[in-house]
């Protein structure tokens, strides 16, 4: 999987590349408008992470260029502008998703995975992990072919875990992913969800992949 990170802040693009490389993504970085345009012209990427404010030109212009060339690369806008206009303009121009800075890397990773899944919908919509199988098209989960009945939030939580498998996910990232900003910083509610999800997975076939990491958060792992 090839990812292009168009971001002028070196520290940020490095972190992103670092985090994504573990998930078998091949990351390239373009730090300004011209480099980005050149890279897009000669390559095809599964997903392009696009910052809007760039030296040398607007990220929205790059987006226009991508669409003009009839490229099918997925585009995820990552902007610090957090302004509604940009979000609407970006999505109208054909971006697949919008994430405002600052974001959790786990959130970014989950969004990229979702975009790539949607792009390759002719391919496999099944995500397997050990004896667990998530069908992202039907939004159903099975453990050793036993169906697991999950609530909406539990499903979202599991998908988030699966997308960020073997990585530590902070409680804050989970709270924000499930309920948005309003519930950020409020962790009481996560425990119940995790407890319920873990119990359902265990009951269906001993799939105990959710590990609590002391003081930090959770990890979805088979080790």
């Amino acid at each position: 999987m090839k990812i292009l990170i168009i971001e002028d802040e070196k520290a940020l693009s490095e972190s992103i590349a670092d985090y994504l490389s573990v998930h078998e993504y091949n990351c390239e970085v373009a730090a300004d408008y011209r480099t980005a345009i050149e890279k897009i012209e000669y390559n095809t990427y599964d997903c392009i992470l696009l910052d809007i404010t760039l030296p040398g030109g607007s990220g929205l212009k790059i987006l226009e260029q991508i669409k003009e060339d009839n490229k099918t690369d997925g585009v995820l806008i990552i902007s610090a502008k957090n302004s509604l206009d940009d979000k609407i303009t970006g999505l109208n121009l054909g971006a697949d998703d919008y994430l405002s800075k600052p974001f959790h890397l786990s959130e970014l990773n989950a969004r990229i995975a979702a975009i790539i899944r949607r792009k390759n919908f002719d391919g496999n919509s099944m995500i397997r992990f050990g004896n667990l199988c998530v069908d992202t098209q039907r939004k159903s989960v099975t453990v050793e072919n036993n169906p697991v009945e999950l609530t909406k939030k539990e499903y979202e939580l599991l998908l988030y875990f699966v997308s960020n498998k073997k990585r530590l996910i902070s409680k804050d990232a989970i709270a924000e992913h499930l309920w948005g900003n309003e519930m950020g910083g409020n962790f009481d509610f996560i425990y119940t969800h995790i407890k319920n999800l873990r119990k359902k997975l265990m009951d269906a076939g001993d799939a105990d992949y959710i590990k609590s990491v002391y003081g930090m958060g959770y990890k979805f792992t088979d080790q």
Partner: protein, 424 residues
């Protein structure tokens, strides 16, 4: 007070008093002239009597007509100056007092002295004065009335450009594409006003755009380093073999960064709302939006064992910005969940008049009115920024909704009363 009313309040008493004083003066002058005229008539009469005496040496006959009476009385006086006076006499026929002007003068006839008296009725004179006065008063009244009416029409016409400017200013909005359009006028004062208004609005628009730019830039500048901190901490947390002390440091860093980023976003949101950056008005179905949000938080509420009772009227349609409506709902509902107790309850009520959310929760320690202020919060816990209600208040202010917060019978009640204009 209207300018015209103020103007009238000053000018009308002055006009009335001037007219009153002058009509009193007018009355006296007129009266004096007519009496003088009467006295002249009396002198003619006197001359006639003296002439008659000279020619005939006989006293003329006394006469007693309605308007002129002549009489003679013998007297011991040998010298008397001509004496003019006014006398009120009872008129038996008309049953009223009648004024007479009289002249008394000395005449001699056959060596005897007589006082001759000629009286002329003043009635006609009085009638004329009265008539003239009445006409005068009528003219004054007409004048005032015409002045009043014409002022009203003329002035309201004159003020038209002013009203137009005022209306344009009222409708002035940083977002509307149509520029302020002022009516042309040939009155210097209004021309000056319009020029100033144009200058001011242009300056304001410019300042506003600069401010908007500044807000955006500040956001960008703060968000990026924040993102770097957050992501680096996240990366570092991924390392194996961290000691407990290191984990604690990382967690504190993570929490502080998360709090800072929420704070920054909330402050930016407040600034944006206050700068009317959410001016776009949508027609939104508040009912379905509310239900969607409650459903979204449903599992969260269940996790805490909260029971939610809903009394939501369908099709409550509001004219407001969609994003702001979402922020309003999610802030209030998430507050009701966050600041609740285990196995507590939440009541959500919505109709065309108000939106009310009540929830169980620990007793308030601060004044309810203060809760809308910025950074006012009940707990010092990190999950509360103290900006949620302030954001809600700012949104309600924009649309002219009124908002109340009350703590009664162990229930926190937030009530938003809609503005008639926003309801469709």
């Amino acid at each position: 007070m209207k300018l015209i009313a103020k103007y009238n309040r000053v000018t009308i008493p002055i006009i009335i008093s001037i007219l009153l004083i002058s009509s009193i003066g007018y009355y006296f002058i007129l009266h004096r002239i007519l009496i003088y005229q009467l006295d002249k008539d009396l002198r003619i009469e006197q001359n006639e009597i003296i002439q008659h005496l000279k020619e005939t040496d006989q006293l003329p006959e006394t006469s007693d007509y309605k308007d002129q009476q002549i009489s003679f009385h013998p007297t011991n006086l040998v010298e008397l100056k001509d004496k003019y006076s006014t006398q009120d006499v009872y008129n038996r026929r008309e049953d009223e007092m009648e004024s007479f002007r009289r002249i008394d003068f000395l005449v001699t006839q056959g060596g005897k002295y007589f006082i001759a008296t000629v009286k002329k009725s003043q009635q006609e004179t009085e009638d004329i004065v009265r008539l003239i006065l009445m006409v005068t008063f009528f003219i004054i009244a007409m004048l005032l009335l015409i002045l009043f009416i014409s002022n009203r029409f003329l002035l309201s016409n004159l003020w038209k450009p002013f009203r137009n400017t005022l209306e344009q200013l009222n409708q002035f909005n940083f977002f509307s594409k149509n520029k302020i359009a002022l009516q042309k006028t040939d009155i210097d004062e209004f021309k000056e006003l319009n020029e100033t208004v144009l200058f001011m609005t242009q300056k304001l628009t410019l300042d506003y755009q600069m401010l908007k730019g500044f807000t955006e830039n500040a956001s960008h500048e703060i968000q990026t380093p924040l993102a770097i901190i957050k992501n680096k901490v996240e990366l570092l947390s991924q390392s194996e073999n961290l000691t407990e002390a290191q984990i604690n440091v990382l967690q504190s860093l993570n929490e502080a960064a998360a709090r800072l980023s929420r704070l920054n976003q909330s402050l930016l949101l407040l600034a944006k709302i206050e700068n009317h950056q959410f001016a776009h008005i949508d027609t939104i179905n508040f009912s379905s939006m509310l239900i969607r949000y409650i459903d979204n938080f449903d599992e969260l509420a269940q996790a805490k064992g909260l029971s939610i009772s809903k009394n939501i009227e369908e099709e409550v349609v509001l004219q407001m910005n969609e994003s702001l409506a979402e922020i309003l709902i999610s802030n209030i509902i998430s507050n009701a969940i966050k600041h609740n107790v285990d196995k507590g309850n939440i009541g959500v009520e919505l109709n065309k008049k108000y939106f009310r959310v009540s929830n169980t929760g620990p007793e308030l320690r601060t004044d309810t009115a203060e809760l809308f202020g910025r950074f006012k919060k009940e707990s010092s816990s990190g999950d509360s920024l103290g900006l949620g209600l302030s954001i809600v208040k700012t949104i309600t202010d924009i649309y002219g909704f009124s908002i109340n917060y009350d703590y009664k019978k162990e229930q926190h009640v937030v009530e938003i009363i809609f503005n008639d204009l926003a309801i469709e």
